[in-house]
């Protein structure tokens, strides 16, 4: 840790949010002389790599300069008046909850830019692609960095436009309806959320998240809290996504280009769960308490539903799409995150945040891998890939196959890898839910959640069995006959994710030490 000046920290955070926006505008302009590169396409893709790289460096610097002795307090705070008429302020800051998410976002976007530099998805001009990617990064980073409800909403919405176009323009089959569905769901969700935010803000007299968290629901009547928690919760649950509001997700993931899927799963879904922890739990605690059992019930349903759907897709002859399968597995994983949040305990929320990050790393990696597989073979259909004996990636492309197996076991929560701790802590939280929550009900949720981990293991191992193993000598259709192994740019884009998955699995203390104090300050008066 290097002690950095407060002003420097402020500048770092604001720059990390604003730079992608400026970069997006710059991407639309013609390249200046000296930066033309080999052609306009290469120049703009390189511009994307440069900007996301710088942003990633800024967030790393921010993490380095972050005072790790007091992660529970807001740091790098800048607070400017923006719209005095409504009391909306340009309030930025980060603490132990948002810092890891900021770094994860910047990292994943950088890796995506790197990946696209080598392998631009099929579609119209790369200029717009890079601009949209950077706009997406700006929106997501802003979501995690802002401390004002109205700004949160703006950042939340900013993400919609670029994601829509990424799916609708550079996506695969069925992209038009999928993109439209994505926009409709999340838009309606966020309009409902806006109403909830307004109810909180107008009744509490402030839109400031820090002050709302400090007040901890004081000054908000029980009814107000119920309405607000319901509205905000529904809006965030669409994004998270929570069963039964998840149905936009499989379509969007399946249709999106690789980079879009990675960012959708790795970053965008986190915005929903982050909102629960940052806004819903601290600002309307009574409302959150009332709805917690329902949230937990939906979360557990999501876990079971997601894994059953995956099992169905993984069966032989089911014509299951691998991308769709991973999308459904996301529904299950986010179920664990929501279950952890619904326990309203430090353990559970820490687990939720941990599972959140782990899902970002692992599912990001899995979507990269499946995207690469689809690039090589032209299909992500499991039956086609598996042939009669199995895909035999171990034999034909050992590194790719090995990495896919690694991603799968990490995703099923193998101890020693990142996925394990979050789910364990979430389930632990359900064993001892917060005071006032029904212990028997949460015990049932715990049991169902544990069953969910078993089902998850079942379908992921089935996928590994069908794709990685098999007879390499089997005669296959022409496109599937040869599968080239990992290429250098893939190696560069995926190694960081693998390393972080292992590190987060072996050394959970590093992250938990950062998150726990912040969670404690967001949930005062809770003992566990």
């Amino acid at each position: 840790m290097i002690p950095l000046d407060d002003t420097v920290m402020q500048a770092l955070l604001v720059a990390a949010v604003v730079l992608p926006l400026l970069g997006a505008l710059a991407a639309l302009l013609p390249a200046p002389p000296g930066l033309r590169g080999r052609g306009p396409e290469q120049a703009v893709l390189r511009h994307g790599v440069t900007v996301t790289g710088v942003v990633f460096a800024l967030t790393v610097l921010l993490a380095v300069g972050f005072d790790h002795d007091r992660p529970g307090t807001m740091q790098a705070e800048s607070d400017l008046s923006w719209i005095p008429a409504l009391g909306v302020r340009l309030h930025f800051g980060t603490d132990g909850v948002s810092l890891p998410l900021l770094v994860l976002t910047a990292l994943l976007t950088f890796l995506c830019a790197l990946y696209s530099y080598a392998r631009m998805p099929q579609g119209p001009s790369p200029k717009a692609f890079v601009a949209l990617l950077l706009l997406l990064e700006c929106g997501t980073l802003a979501t995690f960095a802002v401390l004002d409800l109205m700004l949160f909403f703006l950042a939340f919405e900013t993400v919609l436009v670029p994601m829509y176009f990424l799916i609708a323009r550079w996506g695969g089959e069925g992209r038009g309806p999928a993109a439209w569905k994505f926009v409709l769901y999340t838009l309606l969700g966020s309009v409902v959320m806006l109403l909830g935010l307004l109810v909180v803000g107008l009744n509490a007299g402030t839109f400031d998240m820090v002050r709302l968290a400090e007040a901890h629901g004081a000054g908000l009547s029980h009814t107000t809290q119920l309405i607000a928690a319901l509205a905000i919760g529904v809006g965030l649950a669409v994004k998270a996504p929570m069963w039964p509001l998840h149905s936009w997700l499989p379509d969007a993931h399946t249709a999106a280009p690789t980079v879009g899927s990675v960012l959708l799963a790795g970053v965008l879904l986190k915005m929903g769960t982050y909102g629960f922890v940052r806004i819903l739990l601290p600002a309307v605690p009574d409302g959150a308490h009332t709805f917690a059992p329902y949230l937990a019930a939906f979360a557990v349903t999501g876990i079971i539903y997601g894994s059953l759907a995956c099992l169905a897709l993984a069966r032989k002859g089911a014509k299951g799409d691998l991308k769709r399968l991973i999308a459904y597995s996301s529904v299950g994983h986010m179920g664990f995150v929501l279950l952890g949040i619904a326990t309203l305990t430090h353990t559970g929320v820490n687990g939720a945040l941990y599972a959140n990050l782990a899902h970002g790393l692992i599912t990001g990696l899995l979507f990269f891998l499946v995207g690469a597989l689809k690039d090589r073979t032209g299909t992500s259909d499991l039956d086609t890939l598996a042939g009669t004996t199995g895909g035999a990636l171990y034999g034909r492309a050992p590194r790719l196959g090995g990495l896919l197996a690694f991603g799968a076991v990490a995703s099923l929560g193998l101890p020693g890898l990142a996925g394990f701790w979050g789910e364990l802590l979430a389930l632990l939280g359900a064993y001892h839910p917060a005071a006032g929550l029904s212990r028997p009900a949460f015990s049932v949720f715990l049991a169902l959640g544990a069953l969910g981990t078993l089902l998850t293991a079942a379908y992921l191992l089935l996928v590994v069995r069908r794709v990685c193993m098999g007879d390499p000598a089997e005669t296959r259709p022409e496109r599937l006959a040869t599968v080239p192994d990992m290429r250098p740019y893939e190696f560069a884009a995926w190694t960081p994710l693998v390393v972080l998955t292992v590190v987060a699995g072996l050394w959970p203390g590093a992250l938990l030490g950062l998150m726990d104090p912040a969670v404690q300050s967001l949930l005062p008066g809770v003992t566990r």
Binding site: W82, P84, A85, L86, M150, L154, L202
Partner: protein, 526 residues
């Protein structure tokens, strides 16, 4: 007392000051006039006459000058507002008794005048190309525009019922002619007739109401009426209440509030596009400022009656407007303008919300600020949207929404601007100013305890999202092979491009710093 509080610096006032000394000596009956205060509407009116006369002496090929002259006059009238900022002036005051004034230049007046003159200026820019292309009679067109603008600018300053009615008529009578100006076009003259008949009915009703109010209170001045109404003789109570109700109905008509909105879609479609833009913004602004004046300034004692009535009217108006817009099919002729017409009815509903809220709060002056803030936002983005529509409309083209499919390919900047304006109207980021203007209106309803109205408004915003987004999405859709989208459009004319750019820059600036517009919300304007 003469209420002339003008700074002594303005040298053209020297005469007035001398006159005032005379008045102080004795001749009490003659009112003094603060020329600086009344300059904005006066400049527009004088320019109207100049244009009318100049038209007679200009050769056909020089008629284009009249447009420039109009724009310059409107800009000058707008600039005349600058010296008035910061001090409350009043003129045309009674020299005895209550000393009530008929013309007041307070922050409310200046804001609405700025909106009206600015809007008229943009309309003038917008009209230059269509006047030429559609062969509208130039002299008449510019005269009517200036005359109507001067009436609309006079309206917010009026503080007596007679001036109010006169100003409203000066604003709307030329508008009928503007609507019907397209010679030999059936739709145009039918629209003008529809507009005229409904508007005249409204005026008649309003005049009847005004006369009742005058009969019961013995005064035309808003402040005197406000004081006298609570103490009206109990036998005249019904008459006073009827008068209040009829006056409000008249204004509701002018603002195109449901159920008095039926003339809007046909009128907008029949009128030249810039005139439709003018009606949707300046016409509405005039109606709303009149409504604010009579409710908040003249009839505060009837707040428990007009508050709920306006709340219901607001809910009805926004629902009818948005549902009407939702029903528009994209392949119907004129569906673009028709959609904007219905959307303007819906927007009028939002504008009514803070006025209704004013009936419930202790501080009505502050509540109506939200209407002004919203109106300013709406004026900029709606004019912008109309500007793009006007820029892309070719004589003889059907003006369907489907014609905008794939606009981003042929005119990327126009498409981006139109998308931005539509998102502002919808209240979605990146149209930040639209979002926060809606939040302000929403807040006024919540603060006034009108929870149900807030819910209705929220539902309407969601309904409106559908059609605004449908249009926005069309802009970015790839053109289908069946219809060659916007077949080889000629270059956009300079004045239309300038209009789109001007409104676009304004909307962008207001989105970056919404306080520019929202500062009017929550401040006492009178």
């Amino acid at each position: 007392m003469t209420a002339l509080t003008a700074p002594q610096g303005a040298h053209h006032l020297a005469e007035g000051a001398a006159q005032r000394v005379d008045l102080a000596k004795g001749a009490d009956l003659v009112q003094s006039i603060d020329w600086a205060a009344i300059a904005p509407p006066t400049i527009a009116a004088v320019a109207a006459l100049v244009v009318l006369v100049a038209d007679l002496f200009l050769a056909e090929r020089h008629k284009g000058l009249l447009g420039g002259l109009t724009a310059a006059a409107l800009a000058l009238a707008g600039l005349a507002l600058v010296p008035l900022i910061g001090d409350d002036r009043a003129t045309f005051c009674l020299t005895a008794g209550t000393r009530a004034c008929s013309y007041v230049a307070d922050p409310f007046t200046l804001t609405v005048q700025f909106l009206v003159l600015g809007g008229a200026f943009v309309t003038a820019l917008l009209s230059m190309a269509p006047v030429r292309q559609e062969r509208l009679p130039a002299g008449e067109f510019w005269f009517l525009l200036l005359a109507s603008a001067s009436g609309a600018a006079l309206l917010p300053a009026s503080r007596d019922l007679a001036t109010l009615v006169v100003a409203l008529e000066v604003a709307s009578l030329p508008a009928f002619a503007l609507v019907g100006l397209r010679r030999g076009e059936r739709l145009s003259s039918e629209a003008a007739l529809k507009f005229f008949l409904s508007s005249v009915a409204a005026t008649a009703v309003m005049l009847l109401g005004v006369s009742f109010v005058y009969a019961t209170t013995g005064s035309m001045h808003l402040s005197t009426v406000a004081q006298a109404l609570p103490g009206v003789d109990s036998r005249l109570h019904t008459l006073a209440a009827t008068g209040v109700a009829l006056t409000l109905v008249g204004f509701a008509f002018k603002t195109a509030a449901a159920p008095f909105h039926f003339w809007v879609p046909d009128t907008y479609v029949g009128a030249p596009v810039p005139v439709a833009a003018y009606l949707s913004v300046i016409g509405k602004a005039a109606g709303f400022s009149g409504l604010i004046l009579v409710t908040v300034r003249a009839f505060p004692s009837y707040a428990d009656a007009w508050g709920p009535a306006l709340a219901v009217l607001a809910a009805l108006t926004m629902s009818v407007g948005n549902l009407g817009a939702l029903r528009q099919r994209t392949d119907r002729a004129h569906s673009a303008v028709r959609l904007l017409a219905w959307s303007s009815v819906g927007q009028a509903g939002y504008l009514l919300v803070p006025i209704a809220a004013a009936g419930y709060t202790e501080e009505p002056d502050r509540a109506v600020g939200a209407t002004l803030a919203y109106a300013l936002m709406y004026a900029v983005v709606n004019l912008g949207a109309f500007a793009v529509v006007a820029a892309l409309q070719r004589p003889g083209s059907p003006g369907r929404l489907d014609d905008y499919r794939g606009l981003v390919r042929t005119h990327p900047l126009a498409a981006a601007a139109l998308a931005f304006f539509l998102l502002c109207l919808a209240g979605l980021p990146p149209g930040i100013v639209g979002l926060f203007a809606k939040v302000t209106v929403f807040q006024s309803a919540v603060d006034a305890g009108l929870g149900w109205l807030a819910v209705v408004m929220a539902l309407n915003v969601v309904i409106a999202l559908v059609y605004y987004l449908t249009w926005t999405a069309l802009l970015f859709r790839p053109a289908t092979g069946r219809q060659p989208a916007a077949p080889a459009l000629p270059r956009l004319s300079a004045s239309l491009t300038a209009t789109v750019a001007l409104t676009g820059v304004l909307a962008l600036a207001a989105s970056g710093a919404p306080q520019l517009v929202l500062r009017f919300a929550g401040t006492a304007l009178f």
